[in-house]
């Protein structure tokens, strides 16, 4: 993962990785691995204010502007599949310009067969997390 790659480039990278697996087991294992590699959420963010409550699993998400004009995301989840998706989102959206984050469509999750986890009706907090990420980005983009 190259820090300078665009969202699309990173998303393509993710898709290529997942294409190596030809069954759901491999894909989910890889997803869970991604979750394990997710940088730990700073303790200050493990707080109600950063929590998105879902029926099914909880998600925490926080954002910081970097000094080179991009956004640094922090996130976590209590369910490991959800954390895997969280990790993919962070991997793809981290350190990107706010406008790019605000405008992205995250279609790559569809291409790796994980789109359904993003559905609001899954109530795993992921869709609300994405909305928060975009809100942070919009706020930063407009300043």
């Amino acid at each position: 993962m190259t820090a300078t790659a665009t969202i699309e480039e990173r998303a393509d990278e993710v898709v290529e990785e997942f294409e190596l697996f030809d069954d759901w087991m491999g894909r989910y294992e890889h997803l869970i691995e991604q979750g394990k590699a997710l940088p730990a959420l700073p303790d200050a963010y493990r707080d109600e204010a950063y929590k998105v409550r879902g029926c099914q699993s909880q998600v925490w998400v926080a954002a910081e502007p970097t000094d080179h004009g991009t956004i640094q995301f922090w996130a976590d989840s209590d369910a490991i599949i959800t954390r895997g998706i969280v990790a993919l989102l962070v991997r793809v959206l981290n350190d990107q310009p706010p406008a790019a984050v605000a405008g992205t469509d995250l279609a790559f999750l569809d291409r790796i067969g994980m789109k359904e986890h993003l559905s609001p009706t899954r109530k795993n907090g992921l869709d609300a997390m994405v909305r928060r990420m975009k809100l942070y980005a919009e706020a930063l983009a407009s300043t």
């Binding site: 409550r53 029926c55 099914q56 359904e116 559905s119 009706t121 899954r122 109530k123």
Partner: protein
């Protein structure tokens, strides 16, 4: 700016083909082929709707919104996919403005009940019209009773038109809500709701439009009308029973307290404090009518395949023919002769009682509604016990109008 068209015509209107798609139309009643002219009460359902309901139960049925398993995801997707369908059909700005309800009645109750929790204050005025259906009267009476608000009524003239001057005069500083029927179910009058909404808005007053009778007969665009609330029932637009839509502007839904409480409408519950889900789910408590909503989607798809103007031309032929023939008969009072009207012909042969006439017409296979059509105040005003009402839908034919007229003639002969 003209909003994008909400319907896409892909089918040419062919009456015989259409009729063949509605199984009930081949029924026989008292040895006559059924002539179903009670469409304002409820419409019949095309095969595509029946098939959709059936296939939902056969292959997809599961509870929505909560499950991780495939069946629940599929059911949720099927259910939620109807929201954008209804958004487009009504021309709403967002699918978040589409609340699924049991029907028009519940939609009005939802708004009136929710606004009774803090919005209406003692002495506030709720403005209705003299041609409202009971479903757009009683909920406001209940809200008024609970809050001390009062109900005011816009008068209707002898042709069955609203008195717009009186309306404007009644709109005052105490007016907090206008509720008006888009198309009258007993008279067929199409009310000038666009103008009425503009008038109300100029005084800062929100408007609820009861669209129960409008949606099957002409294009509706809530953004264009600029109404705050719009209510409809699926069963009156070729869809299943037990479902309908409340459209409300997002700002209203955000602002209104929930109406019913239960599963699916909350985001977190403790015994001390409950936080509600986002709109529109905040207003959808409990397991929804999944099959109903999905069937409603199929009904709207069915209707939207036609050019609505073609349907309007067809229905207006039926109305014109029926009206002309009834006038020809003589001795028949036409009730509701507004300049703008839709697919309803309400009438009463002089000296006869609607109950008697409808009973005899049924013997000839002709199904019309008799009675006050849940608009009792209007019948009181006209000094009649009720009317006979023939109400048309896209599948009715000119032949059926002839059978209607014939049945009226025979009933009158028999009863006189």
């Amino acid at each position: 700016m003209q909003p994008a068209p909400s319907r896409l015509a892909t089918r040419t209107f062919d009456l015989d083909e259409v009729r063949s798609e509605f199984p009930v139309l081949s029924r026989r009643i008292h040895d006559h082929p059924l002539v179903y002219l009670d469409n304002a009460a409820t419409t019949q359902k095309p095969l595509t709707v029946l098939d959709r309901i059936d296939s939902y139960y056969r292959t997809e049925n599961a509870n929505v919104h909560r499950g991780v398993h495939t069946l629940s995801q599929e059911a949720t997707d099927a259910y939620e996919s109807v929201r954008p369908v209804m958004q487009r059909f009504l021309g709403a700005a967002s699918s978040r403005e589409i609340v699924f309800t049991k029907g028009t009645t519940e939609a009005v109750n939802l708004v009136a009940g929710s606004l009774a929790r803090g919005y209406f204050k003692k002495g506030d005025e709720i403005l209705l019209t003299g041609m409202e259906h009971h479903s757009n009267i009683v909920p406001w009476q209940l809200a008024a009773e609970a809050t001390g608000a009062v109900v005011k009524v816009v008068p209707v003239n002898d042709r069955g038109e609203l008195d717009l001057g009186a309306y404007q005069a009644l709109l005052g500083p105490r007016t907090r809500m206008v509720a008006v029927v888009h198309v009258s179910n007993s008279l067929g009058t199409i009310n000038p709701v666009r103008q009425m909404i503009a008038d109300a808005h100029s005084m800062g007053v929100p408007v609820l439009v009861d669209g129960a009778q409008a949606v099957a007969h002409g294009p509706v665009n809530v953004q264009d009308l600029d109404c705050d609330f719009y209510c409809m029932s699926a069963h009156k637009v070729f869809g299943p029973t037990g479902t309908g839509v409340l459209y409300a502007k997002e700002e209203w839904l955000e602002r209104m307290p929930p109406y019913q409480g239960g599963g699916d409408m909350i985001s977190a519950v403790t015994f001390e404090h409950t936080t509600y889900h986002e709109i529109p789910h905040k207003f959808e408590a409990g397991t929804p009518n999944m099959a109903g909503v999905i069937g409603m989607g199929a009904a709207i798809d069915y209707l939207s395949a036609f050019d609505i103007e073609e349907i309007q031309r067809h229905e207006s032929q039926l109305v014109t023919h029926a009206t002309g023939e009834l006038e020809e008969l003589g001795g028949v009072r036409l009730v509701g002769t507004a300049a703008h009207k839709t697919a309803v012909v309400s009438f009463l042969p002089e000296g006869l009682h609607p109950y008697d006439v409808a009973t005899v017409m049924d013997r000839f296979g002709v199904a019309v509604r008799s009675g006050h059509h849940c608009t009792q105040p209007l019948m009181d005003q006209y000094g009649i016990p009720g009317t006979l009402r023939a109400s048309f839908a896209l599948y009715n034919s000119l032949d059926e109008v002839d059978r209607l007229i014939d049945a009226v003639r025979k009933a009158r002969k028999f009863l006189s």
